[in-house]
Symmetry: C2
Subunit: 413 residues, 2 copies
């Protein structure tokens, strides 16, 4: 079953609206094992909309349109498709009742043009819209399926999930099971390299990698009819994943590294404190995005200037004068003094040169020292990150989260 | 000139990537007065890509592709289009030099497949890519123009703005001048409401509003042939803007509120310090994103727990016990104590309930107190923000930047 998505709406063609609908639908369809070969976007223009539908009908088995089902004169999807396949539009009594009820429930006054939404192409199936006035429509024609969905994302997703998904699952008659492995401390190409033998010959399961800064998410998807068989196949791949990425897998879900680390700290009840120079509060702010984190996080210091390092953290002036603010020695002192101040079980310090200025031959932009103090022991790591200021800051934060996790996991081994 | 956009990349068809490129290009083209009639997305499949280009070539004068110009075997846009129009691919010496230099500058090792990017269809024009390895390509064919741009948004926008825009402007034979007004402390619909008389009747100039959290950017664009006339028209609209949004305009450019405030602090040499509770370092991290900010920013405290408020900021236990951590009194003390500790000229404190837990009938989720201490005077503001945890944190940070600017501007009046 080949699928094509058609988005209808001039607002998309002039760039007023970001088309999130196609991403949602593409992801859902791909999870069902239904390949999407084309997305097409057209404006509220009957001629060009008809052209798009005709082209799609000639090359796809399933066409899903979004948009153009509303009450105004601009909304033409249903009209154009009915005309193309010579279907009359007939008022549907149940849809009319639902529509009237919708307005009663919300104490809105219905304008007459709303009734346009109760007319459905003959022989079509109605896909109930629980949060809007335009229902979805399913039309079967010459062995192909055309599904029309409303354009507002909130309505589109509800109609898709509640009315379309069951139909597609039934028609597709196939199970799809995915497992996720989220890796840190490895780049996408290096990760792919270690999987090349499997990727090159993949049929079932399929392997996909997705890179975010500091993370590589691997999705392994099995298709089939027998759940036990599929899970056995995925178990086999899980063994491979564990043997090849033992040190990198931080999560068996789509959870980000930051979320995984916050969950780990909460689960093990390990209190955390941070002392940041070049990241300027980024690490603390990512930690405090997580709900309920106050149970283990109380103190974060942004000691951006030398004065702040001396006054707030008690860094010795001598250390700064002798080794510089960006040094192994300063990172250790920041971390150990933070421990005394905060009494946190795990303390992290960061000092580095985010750029674009401030670098030298000896200490170039991107040089970062990270101190981690846990269980009476302080380790300092240093890195040289590439990229602009924001990228260096973000890569540093990612590495800190990686090191927090590694420190805790290594200790419990 | 009718335009069509073709996005190339399987990641779009499986929903891994949100297609922001088409929105950017559609908006830019629409501002140039070039109508976009279709968007098409295809995967990294030569047959279907060829089909999409052929269909587009038959109905459009200008085709802009994004994606598929990279170094891997998957990247096929240039190859498919060259083949379709019977063009040889020829290595371009200048592009090769640029590519080698790119790797030297970044101290990366170039893999041989990168050289693929130096081959350009004969008779095509090269569109220099200042921040990536794949240049854009312009091909003129049978009176039509095909422009191939790299897929990564950062590269695509740079190539478009620096190489494509001048060509299109020249071809379009029309001048386009835009002015920007960036507003804070007002919502998009309220801003639009104040402009409704102008928006409803707009022909030239055109008015567009873009909302980001905490900001509304208004762009007023004049089209014409006479620069003086166009500027006079825009001057007239500038007067209207100033009269209607005097208190809201923080920038006459696309600069964000954060960037505007950092520039203002640097320009006036006003030192800043922050003490954050519910925002957890977000404000400090947004300040320190700005290059060179160490001149005026030295100290940020994340006093997330009551212990940290007492130990680091010297907040009286009595204040916390009597009024609570989220209170006018705590905000004042945080701010004034921070001033003593940091000696900064402008001090900001934030304490609030970001949620989802921790709210009560008296102090609901979203309640936030912001203290601003400047020139011997402390003001406390309180707000009740709607939204989830991250939204409350972000809205709070935005409001802090708004208040910093307001405090400085009001003082200089």
């Amino acid at each position: 079953m080949k699928c094509e998505l058609i988005s209808v709406g001039t607002e998309l063609l002039v760039g007023d609206t970001l088309n999130t609908n196609v991403q949602f639908l593409s992801r859902e369809l791909s999870l069902l094992g239904i390949p999407v070969y084309f997305h097409t976007t057209v404006g509220d223009n009957p001629k060009r909309l008809e052209e798009a539908v005709r082209i799609a009908f000639n090359r796809s088995d399933l066409i899903i349109t979004t948009g153009g089902l509303g009450p105004t004169q601009d909304d033409l999807t249903k009209e154009v498709i009915a005309e193309l396949f010579k279907k009359k539009l007939i008022q549907d009594e149940k849809t009319k009742e639902d529509l009237l009820q919708y307005f009663v429930n919300r104490e809105f006054t219905m304008t007459p043009n709303n009734l346009k939404q109760t007319f459905i192409p003959e022989s079509a199936e109605i896909l109930f819209n629980p949060c809007g006035t335009a229902p979805g429509i399913l039309l079967k024609e010459q062995g192909r399926m055309i599904i029309m969905l409303p354009g507002p994302p909130r309505e589109m997703t509800r109609v898709f999930e509640e009315a379309v998904l069951p139909i597609l699952k039934h028609d597709n008659n196939q199970l799809v099971i995915s497992r996720y492995y989220n890796l840190s401390d490895i780049g996408e190409s290096a990760a792919e390299d270690r999987l090349l033998d499997l990727i090159d010959t993949q049929v079932n399961p399929t392997i996909a990698t997705y890179a975010k800064m500091g993370e590589v998410l691997i999705r392994i998807t099995a298709n089939g009819n027998d759940e036990n068989e599929m899970n056995a196949l995925l178990d086999h791949y899980e063994e491979i994943m564990l043997s090849r990425f033992e040190d990198n897998i931080f999560s068996f879900s789509k959870d980000s590294l930051q979320i995984t680390v916050c969950k780990l700290l909460l689960e093990k009840n390990i209190t955390l404190a941070t002392a940041e120079s070049c990241t300027g509060g980024l690490i603390a702010s990512q930690v405090t995005e997580y709900p309920g984190i106050s149970k283990i996080f109380g103190t974060g210091l942004v000691t951006y200037s030398n004065e702040a390092k001396i006054n707030l953290l008690g860094i010795k002036k001598e250390t700064l004068d002798t080794y510089g603010a960006v040094s192994n020695e300063t990172a250790i002192e920041m971390c150990e003094n933070l421990q005394k101040i905060s009494q946190a079980m795990l303390c992290v310090s960061v000092t580095g040169i985010a750029g674009p200025d401030g670098g030298s031959a000896e200490k170039p932009v991107g040089l970062v020292y990270i101190g981690v103090c846990f269980d009476g022991k302080t380790d300092v790591y240093h890195y040289h990150f590439n990229g602009d200021r924001k990228v260096v800051q973000q890569k540093t934060a990612n590495k800190v989260f990686h090191l927090i996790r590694k420190t805790i996991v290594d200790k419990s081994k």
